[in-house]
Symmetry: C2
Subunit: 194 residues, 2 copies
DNA sequence: CGGTATATTGTACAACCATATAGTCCACGT
DNA sequence: ACGTGGACTATATGGTTGTACAATATACCG
């Protein structure tokens, strides 16, 4: 069953955005034609341009959607205040969101690792700024550890957590070839002080 | 000065392969037209098809060249026998080769992290097998440590060394945004034993 | 010298692309 | 009842792509 059929209840605009994310994540935006999107979404090409103007506009809309989703996922929730390690709770909710949205991850992998200077707004920059804002917000509420610099905490999240997620297919691929259990291997970050 | 001018002494066939690697590494093979290659190499499109048949043939030739280069770089050299840590010497030569061939790295990054099931032969598989063969060759000569399993040594090389190289632009990008020194951060591998 | 393989060119073509535009249908407010 | 605007379709256009192919130049070998 196709994605379009599964989501026939969504509005055409939302269906287009969803199919676009799916194809962008799988094959990249450049390699995805508006024809492919339209046929999978069960609409005509013209409707895409009607709703999003140009292909660049569609890409922008998809990325805004991704950022919004993450923003919502890591927003401060009062329940977090109870947990002793607040940053850990933040990380956990980010990882949960990531687990639930594999297409988002595939898209981010492409944009963050390869097309670092893509056409749209730099999504790595938006992500980094979002993480930094979040950490600083938690600090201003007095509920995040200040034993380390905020920037180092962000580096930790971006490189170890996100890095592990982004490298996951690579790791699994190699582990599969060597008959190793990919779960056994975890990245960590060493900071050389000088 | 363009690549074609810099290498005007090479045969046209070699020039085509070199320009192709350059453009493939920068923009990906799909996004690179044979016309772009031909104009940069100072030849016509027809000559490319004459030498390599199809675009897929050109990609294959480029990848074979990359693998050959790495194969040569990590081939056993008697001088390695003197060094106490042989695996370390192997790693070092791989890293040197990587430093000297940034275009190869960019191409590998694309193929290993994103297009894991690309059109050509799986380059991650070729790389992994090559590393494993190399380790086992060194072991059969009795000049590589056998305190760890060979497969774990390969995982170490692939994930930590190569992983660091593949993630480098990502790391630099983030570090730049946070006014951090990217050199301070190093990945390492934890193996959970269970 | 002659001839044959190889290197190289120029062009043509069918498929596909993003985009623009004109037109149809329908819901909804007044 | 009407007309206005948004959702949607159909079609046309100009450009780019990979590939095929015939023609020409160049080098090499007997």
């Amino acid at each position: 069953m196709s994605t379009a059929e599964l989501n026939a209840d969504l509005t055409a605009k939302a269906r287009i955005r969803q199919v676009a994310l799916e194809l962008f994540a799988l094959n990249g935006a450049d390699a995805t034609s508006m024809r492919a999107i339209s046929s999978r979404a069960g609409v005509t090409v013209g409707l895409i341009t009607h709703h999003f103007g140009t292909k660049a506009g569609l890409i922008q809309a998809v990325e805004d959607d991704i950022i919004d989703g993450i923003q919502r996922a890591i927003a401060y929730k009062p329940s977090d205040a109870n947990v002793d390690g607040v940053v850990r709770a933040l990380d956990q909710r980010l990882m949960d969101h990531v687990d639930e949205n594999p297409l988002v991850v595939a898209y981010l992998r492409r944009m963050m690792l390869i097309e670092t200077n893509g056409e749209g707004t730099d999504i790595t920059e938006r992500f980094t700024r979002m993480a930094l804002d979040q950490i600083e917000d938690l600090r201003s509420r007095g509920i995040a550890s200040t034993s380390r610099e905020a920037e180092d905490q962000v580096m930790q999240v971006m490189l170890v957590q996100l890095g592990q997620v982004l490298l996951q297919p690579f790791l699994q691929h190699i582990a599969g070839h060597l008959d190793r259990d990919p779960e056994q291997y975890r990245l960590s970050l060493r900071k050389t002080k000088n």
